[in-house]
Each structure stands twice: as C-alpha cells, then as structure tokens.
C-alpha cells in the first residue's frame, strides 16, 4: 500500500459501527434469501414441501426456510458488535431481508410466466408453503416467519450452553421422528407395549402434534439429565483427573463397535427394505475401502474406478448366468456357482486394475485423474457398443445371474444377502486395516506425500503403485460380483461415471484414509438418499455441495484418521 495515509477521514465511531452492522445484516439476509430462491427454482423446496415433519402442520420445507432465517440471525448476532438493542434490530432486519427474496419471487411468478424456462417454478409450489393464504397473506407470512426465525436463531445462539444443547436435542428429535417416520413406524411394529407407543405418537401419515411434543420433551429431559449427571461426576472426580489420550482412543473404539452393531442389528429391526438399502451401503463400503487404498493411502486419484466394479460384475455374470451370453453357453467351460466364480471375478478385476495401472504409471497428480476418467469412459463405451454386443449383451445386459447359495439354500431375501456382504466387508476391512500399517501401507503413504523422496528412499514406485491399483480393483471387483448376484442381472447403465463420483464423494465426506470414515460416508451418501426416496433425484446436487463444503471447512472429513487430522490441522512450515 503506497497511498498516503495522512488524511484519514474522521468518522463518528458509533454511527459507522451501526452502519457496518446494517450492511452485515442485509448481506446475511440476502445470502439466505438467495439460497431460498435457488432452492425454490431448482425444485428442492418443492420436494422438501412434500415431506411432512408434523402431519398437517409442518413440512420439511418450512423447517428448511425457518432454519435458513435462523442461521442468518445467529450469524448476525455473533458477528455484530453493537449494543443489544441495535443487534436485535439488525437480526430482525436480516430475517425480513431473507424472507423478502421469496416474496419477490412470488410477485414475479404472479406476473411473468417463468414455467417455460424453470420447470420447478409452478404455482402450487408456494401455495403449500403459505398454507393457501394467497399472495398478500403469503408475503406477510414469509416476512414475519423470516423475522421470527432470525430471532429464534439469535436466541438459540445467545443461550447458555446447557439449555441450548437440550433445545437442539429436542428439536432434532422431533425432526428425526418426523422425517424418518416410515422407518420408525416399521421398527415399532413389534408387540403390545411398543405398538401402543406407536399409535400414541403417529398416525399412518406421520408424526402427530402430540407425538412431536412428546419427542421434544423426552429428548430435552434426557439431555438435561445427562448434563446434570456429567456435571455431578466431574465435580466428584475433580477436573485434574481427566486423562486425554487413553479414554479418547477407547471411546473411538467404542463408537466404532457401536457403528458396527448398528450395521448388524438395524436391518433386523427395520425390515427388509432397509436390508436392501444396507446391502447397497455395504457394497459401497467395499468399493470405498478399495478406492481408499488408491486415493487415501497411495494418493492416486482414480476417477475410472467404476471400471473395476464393472469387470467384477461382468465376470460373475459371464461365468454363472443362465443366458446365451454366458461362457458356458458357447464354450466348453462349465457353468460355475457363485462361490467358484467369486475368486475369478476378483482376480479378473485385479488383473484389469494392474493393466489400467501400467500405462498411467508415469502420469501424475491431476493428469492421472483425467487419464483414469478417460479409461473408465472407454470401458463404458466399449460395453455399450454394438461391437461388443455378441459377448457382453450390449445395452440389454446379461440376465438370469443366479443368487448365491449356502449349503443348498438359495439366499433370496435381501437381508440374507446383506449379512453375506457384511461378512465380506468385515474380511475386507480387516485386510485394509492390516495393510494400512504394513510396510506396503507405509510405502504408499510415502508415495502420496512425495513421490521423488519415496523413490530416493528405495521404494519401488512401479511395484507399489501397481499393487495399489490391483488391490483397490480387487475390492471393487468383489463388490461388483456381489452386485451382479444381488440384481441377478448386469446392465451397462449401472456402471456410469456417477458410481466413481459416488465412491469418491463418500470417501471425501467420511475422511480420506479412514476406514470408519468410509462407513460413515456410505451411510450418509448412499443410505440416506435411499431412505428418503424423494431426495434421490437431487442426490448428486447434494454431493456437489457436500464436496465443496467439506473441502473448504472440514478437509479431513467427518471421521478422520488421526494421522490425516494432524496433517490437515497443523499449518505447514515453509
């Protein structure tokens, strides 16, 4: 800065502060408002509006808009430095500003036909949000709700810790009880005492107002009691007694075991649809662990990962299917069972993985991502093409792949298949876990951090990278083989680039290089959209947002490995 600083303008401090706060409030409100308009235009608001939290009273759309206003109120409250009175005014202004954008949208929609351009902007979208109150009443409702939401957000952030935490628990309980009502209702179908609980809380369409109050009160009280208990314990033990390292490790282990227990028991309680969803989740966990070897450990960003999955699936189909494309149909090979074909499928995927690895060995960093993306697309184009149709069945795919059998019993129920996959996941997790700390695992980490230094230390780059590709591909091939048996058919359209992006996204969200992170990521990114079916359409939108948000604010992921957390959180020297 070379400009002269001799003539600093003299400002009245209080007034300038107030003005600054005003712009802060307006800006926060506009951001929230623009997000709301975006959600309306993209169609998310409509979908949210169809999911009822409390029957006839509150939809997820209301919750979304209200919490948007709340967030901007809380932001203004914490950032603002003015007197309390001014802060309250600012919060209200921010809330009204956030509501104003939707009002403007209503006005625009009333006068201009936007439907030919924006397919989501239909007139019934907003009608459901404003409880059929017409344009003027709706506008007042939006502005008022915006102000109210902002005040609530500011109040929440301004409360002391204990009541705030209890309130958040209570509200979350209502939200969960309302949004996941189908699942919970299915889970509550057993026996007399539980069934009567269900009729108490729910009608068949969802949570009742009475049920919501009960859920809120229960969660609130539980949280309060826990807090009291914790405080009591701390007072008795004294603050010095808190050992950091060992309990944390133990608690991590405990939560990992808990996660596993949920994986095992949850489908039993929640019915066979959930079994199917969990089956898909565990397939993606398998793939995630494979990609984790490539990206998380060895640092080789692979966007063609789906190719290995496809190879596993097609190998399984070609070897076992009862169709004209099966190898047994036109060669002298016998038709294999699931168990005989499984190792072959894994082997084939490993081979393809190494083949993929060979040419791109010398390609580094971001070029590698594009090269693997290209390879994956080549595989897809080849599979769909007419040229490969006589062998792979073209776009119609291969049908009639048999389900696996154990001791003569065919595993048809998705629940059984889920437990079968779970066993594979456990074995694979054990392998992945042992690999991480092994000599090879450490060599991979060294390559990831600095290829040249790793080579100088005597690590065989070619061997290590090929092993990373091969092992990663083996996991994906296993997942693919099970996938083929699960669907009893193989279509090329199941193997689009989106699967690779899916796996990558769940890795990033869970935490690169972390095995529990893979499970968390898969539950969130695969399980959740399957359970909330209407969001399925927008899942890749959410993935995109998640990737950006996670990379910016929590680059180590939701459940990071300790090492990665250290790396990300400590500033680099030099």
């Amino acid at each position: 800065m070379t400009t002269a600083v001799t003539t600093l303008p003299v400002l009245h401090p209080a007034r300038s502060l107030a003005r600054m706060d005003m712009t802060l409030a307006l800006r926060a409100g506009s951001v929230a408002g623009i997000v709301a308009v975006y959600a309306a235009a993209v169609g998310i608001l409509k979908v949210f509006g169809q999911r009822e939290v409390i029957v006839d009273h509150l939809t997820l759309g209301h919750v979304f808009l209200f919490s948007l206003a709340g967030a901007c109120g809380a932001y203004v409250w914490t950032r603002s430095k003015a007197s309390i009175r001014l802060r309250v005014i600012n919060v209200v202004i921010a809330g009204i500003a956030s509501g104003f954008f939707l009002v403007a949208l209503i006005a625009l929609m009333a006068n201009v036909n936007l439907r030919w351009m924006f397919t989501a902007l239909s007139s019934d979208l907003l009608r459901s949000l404003i409880y059929d109150r017409g344009a003027v009443g709706g506008s007042v409702l939006f502005l008022g709700a915006g102000a109210l939401g902002a005040i609530c957000g500011a109040l929440l952030i301004g409360l002391p810790q204990t009541p705030r935490r209890c309130l958040v628990w209570g509200l979350s309980a209502v939200l969960i009880a309302g949004v996941f009502q189908e699942l919970i209702q299915i889970a509550l179908r057993f026996g007399w005492p539980i069934t009567s609980l269900r009729t108490f809380l729910y009608v068949w369409r969802g949570l009742t107002l009475q049920g919501a109050m009960i859920a809120f009160a229960t969660a609130f009280c539980v949280c309060w009691a826990l807090d009291l208990g914790r405080r009591h314990l701390r007072r008795r033990r004294g603050p010095a007694d808190i050992d950091v390292a060992i309990p944390r490790l133990r608690s991590q282990l405990a939560s990992a075991v808990l996660l596993l227990c949920i994986l095992v028991v949850f489908p039993l309680v929640a019915g066979s649809y959930i079994g199917q969803v969990m089956m898909l989740v565990s397939l993606f966990v398998l793939m995630g662990m494979g990609l984790n070897i490539e990206v998380g450990l060895a640092g080789l960003l692979d966007l063609g990962f789906v190719a290995f999955f496809a190879v596993g699936a097609y190998t399984m189909a070609l070897l076992t299917a009862d169709s004209e494309f099966a190898l047994a149909h036109y060669t002298s090979l016998p038709s294999l069972t699931f168990w005989m074909a499984l190792p072959l499928a894994v082997l084939a995927a490993t081979g393809i993985g190494i083949l993929f690895g060979l040419p791109v060995l010398g390609v580094r960093g971001d070029y590698l991502a594009v090269a693997t993306l290209g390879l994956g697309e080549i595989v897809r184009v080849l599979v769909i093409s007419d040229a490969a149709k006589p062998v792979l069945g073209g776009a119609q795919g291969i049908l009639q792949v048999p389900k696996p059998t154990i001791g003569g019993i065919e595993l048809v129920d998705p629940m059984h298949l889920f437990y079968l996959t779970l066993v594979f996941v456990l074995v694979a997790a054990l392998i992945a876990w042992r690999l991480e700390g092994s000599r090879l695992g450490r060599a991979w980490t060294a390559i990831r951090d600095d290829e040249d230094v790793a080579q100088a230390l005597g690590i065989n780059l070619v061997q290590c990278k090929l092993l990373a590709y091969g092992l990663g591909a083996a996991f994906a091939g296993l997942a693919g083989a099970i996938f083929a048996a699960m669907l009893t058919s193989v279509y090329p359209h199941s193997f689009s680039l989106l699967v690779s992006i899916n796996v990558l996204a769940l890795l990033i969200v869970g935490g690169l290089g972390s095995l529990p992170g893979v499970i968390v990521g898969a539950l969130l990114l695969i399980g959740l959209p399957e359970v909330l079916r209407e969001f399925n359409e927008y899942r890749f939108l959410f993935y995109g947002v998640l990737l950006i948000v996670v990379m910016q604010w929590r680059p180590e992921g939701l459940w990071p490995s300790p090492q990665r957390k250290r790396e990300v959180r400590t500033p680099r020297l030099g």
């Binding site: 040419p359 070029y367 290209g374 992006i501």
Partner: protein
C-alpha cells in the same frame, strides 16, 4: 502464455543404457498402437467403402466440431496456465452458455425475430451466452477455487469436481431433465458450396465465427496489458506479484475470458447438434481438456490447433481405422477415439506436441 513452466509431468532424462520397466512397457505400447493403426488404415482404404464426398463431409464435420473443442480448450489452457488447476467445471460452463443461447434463441424464435434479423439474433445469442458463462466462471472462481489457492493439489481438484456436479445438477433442477431442441432458423437451411462440395451452413457459420473469436482472443492475450499480465502470471506467480501485478484480478479476468469463450462454444455446440441437455457439457469438456494437453497446456495457439486436430481425428478415425477391422457401427466409437487420444497424449506427450520445441527454443 507459453508452455515453458507448465510442465510438471515432464519425465526426467534417464541415464542412457539403463532401461527401466516403464520405458519398455511404454515403447511396447507405442509400437503396438502404431502397427495396429497403420494396418487398419490400409485395410480400410483398400476396402474403398466411402466415396470422396463422404470423406469430405467427415473432414468438414471434424473441422467444425474441432473448432468448438478448440474454443473450449482455450478455457482449460488459460486457467491451467495461471492456476495450475484443471477446471473440471469448464464443461458445465459451456453447457450454461448453450442453455443461455437456447433461451435467447427460443424467445426470439417465438416472436419470429430470429428469422427476420439473423445477424442481430445470432449476436444476441452469443452476447447473452458469453455474459452468463463468464459470470458463472467468475463466481465459481471466487467462491470455490480462491480458498484453495495455496492448498495441496488434490483439494482444489476435488472441489472442482464438486462444482461441476453442483452446476450440472442445478441446471437439471432449473430446466428439467428432458432434451430441448434448438430452434432451426430459415437462414441456416440452404447448404453452402465449397470447392464443389455441399456443406451445411451451420458448419460454415460455426467455423468462421470460431476463427474470429480465436483471433480476437489471441490479440487479447498477446497485445493487451491484461493479456501480458496473464502471461506473466503463468510464467511465474511470485515474480509477477513482485512486478506489481494484481494476481487476483488477473485470475478473475482469466476465468471471465475462458468462461466467455466457453459460452460461445456452448452456443456453437448447440447449433451443431441442435439440442441442449444438462449433461451435454461433460463429454466435450473432457475431450477439450485432451485437446489442450495435446497443444501443450498453457499454450493458447496450441489449444486451438489441438482442438481442431482432435475434431478431425474423432470424425475421420472411426471410418478410417475402425472400419478396417470390420467393427460394426464404427460411429458409436467416436468418443472412444477421442478418449484414447486423450490417454495416449497424457501418457506419451504430457507436455504437448509443441511443448518441447518451445521449451528448447527458450532454454
């Protein structure tokens, strides 16, 4: 913006006489590829299935689509030169331009203005597409890429993938999942005769306007102050900062310029293929990245030549190479050719066709 220091993937020179495993593999690959290509080309020519007219059509289409790729590749190459970042979302920015052009054309078409004032209508399409795409590119840079300016390389790349999906799915949500077909104005109907061959008017229009845009861009990059600043930043960010160049402004300008050219490319792509769709940006985006690498990434004229080369290859190769093997429906393999070329370039010549010569001349 030349290719001198944009070459992180350049292999080190090896000690002569020591042959490593990778070199053996890569040479074996090269020889196999060349031999197969030659064999199939010869057998295809011997078969004589295509007339001279058909060959001319293929080449003309190749040049058309190639000039679109060239325009897209310019966005990649400029951004990579300045930030060393593959802007994965660039394909989506092209798609946004295509949509913008489509909506302008459709609204003009519904009043009949598109047929009455062809030049004005076409200019309006380009102008709006340019503004929309440039704006989106600048916003993307500001909110998604700037926080990662100094982060390790994987982070911005993953964020770029996220941006790409966010844009793509937003457009899907905004404008629906269906195909929308570009209006077909009357003045694009009659074919134009060149050297006695009939060429569709769209192709002539696209190629000639693409050439104008490319010349304009070349002049901006090489003759203006901002262009000089851009080249300086792509040579060395630190030194450019010391020389008093505002790097943030240069980066913003680069994204705006690349996005604007991408938007124009989007309109052309829509005009050639007659439809818009939310997923349309992805494949040309990846292909154009290949074109940018082919021309030496960071090299503006290189990207133009690379794009046109890729277009011709993609258009001619299925007929020339794959037909020779008797592969059914070779036109399905267009993407295959383009992606194979992309991978081959990334593996064998990551510094581009001209990269090395330029580097040597400067060194």
């Amino acid at each position: 913006m030349t290719a001198t220091n944009a070459l992180p993937e350049r292999p080190q020179r090896r000690v002569r006489g020591r042959v490593s495993f990778t070199t053996v593999i890569s040479w074996m690959l090269r020889i196999t590829i060349v031999v197969t290509l030659l064999a199939s080309a010869v057998s295809s020519v011997l078969k004589d299935r295509y007339s001279i007219d058909q060959w001319f059509d293929l080449v003309a289409f190749g040049i058309t689509i190639g000039s679109v790729y060239a325009l897209i590749a310019l966005g990649y190459t400029m951004v990579y030169g300045v930030l060393r970042l593959i802007n994965f979302a660039h394909g989506e920015i092209v798609m946004a331009g295509s949509f913008a052009g489509f909506f302008v054309a459709a609204s003009l078409d519904s009043t009949g203005a598109l047929n009455r004032y062809p030049i004005l209508g076409f200019a309006a399409m380009l102008a709006i597409a340019l503004l929309v795409s440039g704006g989106i590119a600048v916003l993307t840079e500001r909110f998604a890429y700037r926080p990662f300016r100094h982060a390790p390389r994987l982070a911005p790349l993953i964020c770029a993938i996220g941006v790409s999906f966010l844009l793509q799915q937003s457009f899907r949500g905004f404008f629906g999942t269906g195909l929308r077909s570009y209006p077909d104005p009357d003045w694009l109907m009659p074919p134009v005769s060149i050297f006695g061959f009939d060429v569709p008017a769209v192709q002539v229009l696209v190629v000639s306007s693409a050439i104008v845009v490319m010349v304009g861009l070349y002049l901006i990059v090489h003759k203006t102050r901002m262009g000089t600043a851009m080249r300086a930043v792509s040579e060395d960010v630190d030194v450019a900062t010391l020389m008093g160049i505002n790097v943030d402004r240069v980066v913003t300008f680069t994204f705006a310029l690349g996005g604007a050219v991408g938007g124009i490319a989007g309109v052309f792509y829509g005009l050639v293929f007659k439809q818009v769709h939310f997923f349309m940006g992805f494949t040309p985006g990846i292909k154009a990245f290949g074109a940018a690498v082919l021309g030496g990434i960071g090299n503006v004229p290189g990207a133009m030549i690379g794009g046109i080369f890729l277009g011709i290859c993609e258009s001619v190769a299925p007929a020339l190479l794959l037909d020779g093997f008797g592969i059914p429906a070779p036109h399905q393999m267009r993407d295959l050719v383009a992606f194979s070329l992309l991978i081959a370039v990334l593996i064998f010549r990551p510094y581009g066709i001209f990269g090395e010569r330029l580097a040597r001349r400067r060194g």
